[in-house]
Amino acid sequence: MAAEANSAAGMPQLEFATFPNQVLWLVLALVVLYLILSRIALPRIGSVLAERTGTIANDIAAAETFKLQAAEAEAAYHKALDDARAAAAKVVEEARAEIQKDLDVAIAKADSEIAARSAESERRIAEIRESANEAVTAVAKEATKDILAAFGVKADARSVTATVNARLKESAA
């Protein structure tokens, strides 16, 4: 075999006797390989690739939906937060008004009490002043009578009283 190959210009490729053998096995191998690929391998790989493309497209669509839902949820959350804040402000306002009302009542009561007390005090002060004036008048009359008696004048009680009253009025004014 080797000798033959060498004699054929050293090229086993030109050993024509082996051609039918090579062609037969080549055709068989190609047919078998074609059947394996076209029946099993290629449809399987093709379907896997198609399935993957479909899955990726679906997942992207689903992600888009979830994103929208998340945005909605966020808006709802913010709305709830704002509502709660408004409600809280209202409660605070009401409480403040309530307290203000109580406070006003208490202040009014205290004011009226103060007014009553001060009126009472004024009245007492006026009374005291009145009695003091009377006492001064009496003392002045007595003193005037005594002074007049000391001078030996028999004073007329009526005119003394009138004069003292007039002088007291003058000094009071």
Binding site: Q13, A17, T18, L26, A29, V32, Y34, I36, L42
Partner: protein, 248 residues
């Protein structure tokens, strides 16, 4: 070869000899030969990669499934880009050719292996199959108007007969170049590796130099194996496009 190193006898072509595996000296049509063995191994290897690799059908591919998917997508895209969308029908056929040639080339790089694609008989059948398929397909799809492929209407009228002659010749040279390109590349590369390996045996201590050369050439051969499979396949797609759309 090493035992004959004194005589400096290198037989770089011995690796291409077709031998009967089960005894006997003659190679008949149905003899089980090393061709049978290595073609069977090619079919098994391709099936392992594409069938067993994609067995999981996982949505997120495993490593082996990724390899199968990358090979599928690569050839599918090539067919779609070059032959057009209606060429996709013939994708299984082109995928078969690509995988068979790629794995024959790569398996042929294993030490002591036999490279089926280095034989002109094999590549001639592959190329002839493409040529006949494409020609028949062209006439079936377009009838006589398929011949307009050779009548270049964009050229001046006076030049058209000459161009037609050139086109016809180039059309019939296609299967020749298609087959010899592949077989020649495979044969030359393997022969070079073998020659350098023979030097390594003969040179003794200085054999380290041929060994470095063999390493470099081996890397180059790996590249050539893949590129030649790619070239054969993309040319098939180009011829297919001519058959599907002969009007340029």
């Amino acid at each position: 070869m090493a035992e004959e190193s004194g005589g400096f006898a290198i037989h770089p072509m011995d690796q291409f000899i077709v031998r009967p595996l089960l005894g006997g000296d003659t190679v008949g049509m149905f003899t089980i030969t090393n061709v049978t063995l290595w073609m069977t191994l090619t079919v098994i290897a391709v099936s392992l990669v594409l069938v067993v690799g994609s067995r999981g059908r996982a949505l997120v591919p495993t490593r082996s499934q990724s390899i199968a998917e990358v090979l599928y997508s690569f050839v599918y895209k090539m067919v779609e880009d070059v032959a057009g969308h209606d060429g996709v029908k013939y994708f299984p056929y082109i995928m078969t050719l690509f995988m068979f040639i790629l794995f024959s080339n790569l398996l042929g790089l294993l030490p002591w292996s036999f490279t089926t694609t280095s034989h002109i008989a094999v590549t001639a059948v592959l190329a002839a199959a493409v040529f006949i398929t494409v020609t028949v397909l062209g006439f079936v799809l377009h009838g006589a108007s398929f011949l307009k492929l050779f009548w270049i209407t964009s050229a001046p009228l006076a030049l058209r007969p000459i161009l037609a002659l050139i086109e016809v010749i180039s059309y019939f040279v296609r299967p020749l170049s298609h087959s010899i390109r592949l077989a020649g590349n495979m044969m030359a590369g393997h022969a070079v590796v073998k020659v350098f390996a023979g030097f390594a045996g003969a040179l003794g201590l200085f054999g380290v130099l041929p060994i470095l050369a063999v390493t470099a050439v081996y890397g180059l051969e790996l590249l050539v194996s893949v590129i030649q499979a790619y070239v054969f396949t993309i040319l098939t797609c180009v011829y297919l496009r001519d058959a599907l759309h002969p009007h340029h």
